[in-house]
């Protein structure tokens, strides 16, 4: 594949990005509005020697991805709300057993079957806390077709680098929107591979991490015979109930993501330098926010935008800094209050945090955000 310019859909950009990242296995189940990712990869994967399988359900798709990844192949699945709910158990398995993979959730209105063809941003907390038990999480939220492509590559790189699943979250508008994109020449894209052991099989401990808290990975069938289990396990991978071992493992899993927080963190600021009021918005909402900020400026209101590209781990430091600078932060999101609680937590009362929320299945328009900004000025 060469660098290309063209009209492309968000879901298609996701599939293309996956191929560039080295994804060679996809297991999925049809669900609107994510199906185009599966359809595109069913076509593209065998062209590059990869494999695609349509599984009998979302649970099986997540399981197959984990199996393929343990076989040493970069793997991905994509879904939307109801399917994302079904993936949660095996998602937790992948986190706990440290199996890299990428899970895409193209967000539609919910709960339940909800609005299959309409956008929402109501799974951001499910992405963080959907699977049971304590666990770290990495989630990225692109806001354009080009960014979907780049974030997909980044999701694979982070998953491989840190041996953990990475969630790509974007709304139906981003998934189905077509826009002109200019994609980087794939040969110029940095691709990360999972860390490999340097020791011989006899002394290999599959869950003994180095200084960066990431244990080296070796695929099945290479002479390093080991056990993988979703039970609490020790460095050998064997089940344990030893409280000290269990606690140390839990803490390492969290530390593994926390200590790489700066490497994961990604955001964009727009006209924030001298802003007195700011919008916090992600995904398609951030594009309306950008227009609102521009109009506000033309009307003499010093507005700005903080657009997180990484949603999890949350951008505490950046939001904290913003709260010191501005009078008020408007959190605009297509749900009835999810990321706003994180913003409030990080702002620690240093700025007023106001909500602009919409749960009608329609995107938030610039005028709506503009009105919210004028209200808090």
């Amino acid at each position: 594949m060469r660098a290309s310019v063209g009209l492309m859909q968000g879901n298609e950009a996701c599939a293309r990005g996956a191929i560039v990242a080295g994804c060679r296995f996809y297991a999925g189940y049809p669900i609107t509005p994510s199906s185009e990712i599966a359809e595109e990869l069913a076509r593209l994967l065998p062209q590059v020697g990869g494999k695609f399988i349509q599984m009998e359900d979302e649970i099986g798709a997540m399981g197959a991805c984990i199996g393929a990844s343990l076989g040493g192949v970069k793997s991905m699945t994509a879904t939307s709300g109801p399917g994302f709910s079904l993936k949660q158990e095996n998602l937790g398995y992948a986190i706990y057993t440290e199996v890299p993979c990428v899970v895409v959730n193209v967000m539609r209105g919910g709960p339940s079957t909800g609005l299959p063809t309409s956008p929402a941003q109501s799974d951001v907390m499910q992405a963080r806390w959907g699977t049971h038990g304590d666990h770290p999480m990495i989630a990225l939220a692109p806001a354009s077709v080009r960014e979907v492509h780049d974030c997909t590559i980044r999701a694979f790189n982070l998953a491989e680098r840190l041996r953990t699943p990475v969630i790509l979250l974007y709304d139906e508008v981003i998934g189905h929107m077509r826009e002109k994109v200019e994609l980087t020449d794939p040969s110029q894209v940095a691709i990360v591979e999972r860390p490999k052991p340097t020791c011989p099989p006899e002394v290999y401990l599959p869950y003994k991490a180095g200084e960066d808290d990431v244990p080296p990975f070796v695929r099945f069938g290479e002479g390093y015979r080991y056990h993988v289990t979703g039970l609490a396990h020790d460095e050998r991978g064997f089940p344990t109930q030893n409280p000290r071992v269990v606690e140390a493992h839990q803490r390492r899993l969290h530390r593994k993501v926390e200590r790489h927080r700066d490497e994961i963190a990604a955001y964009e600021t727009f006209m924030l330098e001298d802003a007195e009021v700011a919008v916090f918005a992600y995904g398609i909402t951030a594009r309306s926010a950008r227009a609102a900020v521009r109009t506000a400026r033309s009307e003499g209101l010093r507005a700005g935008l903080l657009r997180p590209i990484s949603l999890w781990p949350f951008l505490d430091l950046e939001v904290g800094k913003l709260a010191q600078q501005v009078k008020a932060i408007v959190v605009a999101e297509m749900n009835l209050g999810q990321m706003i609680y994180e913003v409030e937590r990080a702002a620690q009362g240093r700025a007023r945090v106001a909500a602009y929320q919409k749960a009608s299945g329609e995107p938030i328009h610039p005028e709506e955000i503009l009105a919210a900004l004028q209200e808090v000025r």
């Binding site: 297991a27 393929a68 069938g221 015979r225």
Partner: protein, 254 residues
Amino acid sequence: MFDYHEYFRSEMMPHMWCKGCGNGIVLKALLRAIHRLGLSKDRIAMVSGIGCSSRLTGYVDCNTLHTTHGRPLAFATGLKLARPELTVIVITGDGDGLAIGGNHLIHTARRNIDLTCLLFNNQIYGMTGGQLAPTTPEALFSTTTPYGNIEPNFDACRLVQAAGGTFVARGTVYRAIPLEKLIAEGIQHKGFSFIEVLTTCPEIHGRRNKLGTPAEMLQALAKTTLPTGVIHQASGPEYTEAYDGIIAKAQGRT
């Protein structure tokens, strides 16, 4: 003399199965079958779900994957597609493979992917303390059928055959040598091989239903009225090979 310890993870012993449990007989038959076929431990992957039988993977010195409840066939499908050169053996139980994981069993059989699935049927949810399984005989008691079971149970072999599995067999822990041979045949068969193993749970299931001593429960298996041995064998396109054809087509090589 065949040395089981060559295949065991000694650090995982003692195992967690109850005294008198039939699962150890299946484990040993499986190890003898592997030995008989001369398979390298490095090239075997064993994938299991959740339950007593599924703990088996922890005890065998090969590439082992103890997955989530009911899902080992899905994990194994991904692994086999990623690495067709590995011999992938799936260990599941009657609850894991027929209740929560029943749908995966149907579709894995339909795809005829080259996995060998051993389903341990002990008629009960043993690990969780003896609840009703889809295989519990009618009128028997479990912790969730205190007045007796009113649900008909189903025949796993007929299910898999109907779904498209190309090797379907049933063995019992009463006849360990024929079981070993069935497992070896199943591993050698190209395509989805399904072996239901009738095993015993004297501690959790037998006691409650007064089914006798562990030895008596074994002897009862000798009198099973269900067909045993190879029940169905057919040939059909194997999934990973068929997919190689897709790759050739997509790359314009055909």
